[in-house]
């Protein structure tokens, strides 16, 4: 068990709280950097997807887990980023600029979608963003002249400052670097006033506004940042897959993104990354398991059923997701043999005055 003695306020603000964290995150980073030499090409390709989904997961986590605004339309931001990237690349715009544009344009769309969020809450916001997803899907299907409609768009490999990221390894390092940067940006944001304002809005809007927090501004900002990260993820996704078409950005995709957040653990950045890894690994696990299953079980649609069951299972048994489970395991060993089941039990919440508005 570790005891941390605090002698300075800066200790609470630091990126790493203690040397143990430096060691473990350092080790993780080393492993990730060495990954191309350790794993097969197939696994490396899955790591690409994990990085890309992590970035998207982080964006969605900021919105859902920290600001408390649900979105069932994030596939639309993914599409915005992907198509912006595809169009700008075919127009010959350098990658560095086109990626920035994909992020900024997604953020702009995010602000527009965020506007109804100022008035809508909970399930109504979910329906509004859901509708937005359908609209965007329809636009990219019908607007043939720009998006190529159902025949989709092809992308070439990324060219970064004259250096072509054609190989698996170079693309992997690029994705990894972006993921780490996005993580750092969000950690910074969450330990500063803006991040606290998001949390305040999540936990009590009335009280947040009585503390001087401008609800409209911060909700919009949250939507914008979330959409920008998803847009970056979308641009990378487009390059990874090499071909984009409307059926990659349907409602099912949006729900899969929300699943990342819920399975990973609402309200933790670790959760976004864990959830992304889980979502990427699950289809492989299922296809391996298929070989052992008796033939009487229908093979088609098995994946959706398993996905659904896992999601429901997490909501019932582990509302704080994989990261919540990890915290419990860690605490168990930290305080062994004094762990009590009640440690993480949710306390009853007292009466609240949400009926004000």
């Amino acid at each position: 068990m570790r005891f941390i003695f605090k002698t300075d306020y800066a200790q609470d603000i630091r990126l790493f709280q203690h040397s143990g964290q430096v060691f473990w995150y350092g080790l993780l980073l080393l492993l990730l950097l060495a990954a191309p030499y350790l794993v097969s090409g197939y696994v490396l390709s899955q790591l690409h997807f994990t990085c890309i989904y992590s970035i998207v997961g982080l964006g969605l986590m900021l919105l859902v887990g920290y600001t408390g605004q649900i979105s069932l339309g994030h596939a639309a931001f993914l599409a915005t980023g992907a198509y912006t990237e595809a169009l700008l690349q075919s127009a010959g715009v350098p990658f560095f600029i086109s990626l920035t544009c994909a992020a900024l344009f997604s953020a702009a769309v995010g602000i527009i979608v965020g506007l109804p969020a100022l008035r809508l809450k909970g399930i109504y916001l979910a329906i509004a963003t859901f509708a937005f997803n359908v609209i965007v899907e329809e636009i990219i299907t019908r607007w043939d002249s720009v998006t190529g409609g159902n025949s989709g768009k092809l992308l070439k490999a990324i060219e970064l400052f004259g250096y072509r990221l054609g190989s698996q390894e170079s693309f992997y390092y690029f994705c990894l670097a972006l993921t780490v940067l996005c993580c750092l940006a969000l950690i910074n944001l969450l330990r500063s006033p803006t991040g606290r304002a998001f949390v305040a809005i999540r936990d009590s809007e009335v009280s947040a506004s009585c503390m001087g927090i401008n609800l409209a501004y911060y909700k919009t900002i949250s939507f914008a940042i979330s959409a920008a990260l998803t847009g970056i993820g979308g641009a990378l996704y487009a390059h990874k897959v090499g071909f984009i078409s409307p059926e990659q950005f349907t409602l099912i995709q949006s729900i899969e993104l929300v699943t990342i957040v819920i399975i990973g653990g609402v309200g933790s950045l670790h959760g976004a990354v864990l959830g992304a890894a889980f979502i990427i690994m699950l289809p492989q696990a299922i296809s391996i398991a298929k070989g052992w299953l008796p033939d009487t079980i229908p093979q088609a649609g098995l994946q959706s059923v398993v996905f659904g069951l896992i999601l429901v299972g997490f909501i019932i048994f582990e509302p704080f997701g994989l990261y919540g489970r990890w915290l419990k395991i860690r605490t168990y060993f930290d305080v062994f043999p004094f762990y009590r089941r009640g440690t993480f039990r949710r306390q009853r919440s007292y009466l609240r005055s949400e009926r004000l508005r």
């Binding site: 910074n188 944001l189 330990r191 500063s192 991040g195 949390v199 009590s204 009335v206 001087g212 609240r352």
Partner: protein, 253 residues
């Protein structure tokens, strides 16, 4: 010239007149209490001051300027409030709750924060020092790093008081500070209200039912019934006023 004044304030919800032509003024540095039976419109007045409801008539003046805009503008003018039913940020630590109270004093912008520039570190440490003064004042050091969701009611009440203090307000609105507290905790609350007035020099406008607490800390008391003022004066004057007795106990035949 007045510090805080309400002029002819009224609000109706459909056919119900919740507050009807209420006017009063609060002097700088005093503790002013609003009392009244259930449904008299006390909390409604607080919500009108906080601009959570729109008044149908009248206006609110703070330091001779009208209070208008959205709820966050009120906070930025230096008016902080607590809630009758505790509205804390449940899934954040006590420290984070108090830091959120510092929001109106933030000096950094989004871009600086994304990169966590040295200016942000400096600002954060300054905020932390201000919050630590509040923690010291209210004796909350023991709970600094605990999640609000796991704390007992009495402590939450104090944390809410602390969060309001962290905003460094000029005027504090306390909505039933003693509701749900046991006699010991109520006693502590009375001490703190006295300290807030005398040591920190903050003006307090309070809604309260506990008459012991009211007579102990208030300089002046306003009694409301069914949205109208029925008496105003020192605690003793108001308590013995025939209209107040009638409002609480019913009319004598």
């Amino acid at each position: 010239m007045s510090f805080f004044a309400i002029e002819d304030l009224g609000v109706r919800f459909g056919g119900v007149v919740a507050v009807d032509g209420v006017s009063f003024s609060v002097k700088q540095g005093e503790v002013y209490t609003i009392i009244g039976p259930n449904g008299a419109g006390k909390t409604t007045i607080f919500n009108l001051i906080g601009l959570i409801y729109r008044p149908t008539s009248g206006r609110i003046l703070f330091e001779d300027r009208e209070v208008t805009g959205a709820p966050h503008h009120v906070a930025q003018r230096g008016i902080a409030r607590t809630f009758q039913n505790i509205e804390l940020f449940e899934h954040a630590t006590v420290l984070q709750n108090l830091l959120i109270g510092r929001h109106r004093h933030r000096t950094t912008n989004l871009l600086e924060e994304l990169f966590f520039l040295p200016s942000v570190t400096r600002a954060e440490i300054a905020q932390r020092e201000a919050v630590e003064r509040v923690i010291d004042f209210l004796d909350l050091a023991h709970y600094r790093d605990s999640l609000v969701a796991g704390l007992p009611y009495g402590i939450r009440k104090v944390i809410e008081l602390g969060r309001a203090l962290a905003t460094e307000p000029k005027l504090m609105l306390l909505d039933e500070p003693s509701s749900g507290l046991n006699p010991d905790e109520t006693d502590d609350m009375a001490f703190w209200i006295e300290d807030i007035q005398k040591e920190l020099g903050i003006t307090v406008l309070m809604v309260e039912h506990d008459m012991n607490l009211v007579s102990r800390v208030s300089d002046r008391v306003l009694a409301l019934n069914e949205g109208r003022i029925i008496a105003e004066g020192t605690p003793d004057e108001v308590q013995s006023h025939p209209a107040v007795i009638e409002a609480y106990l019913g009319g004598g035949e």
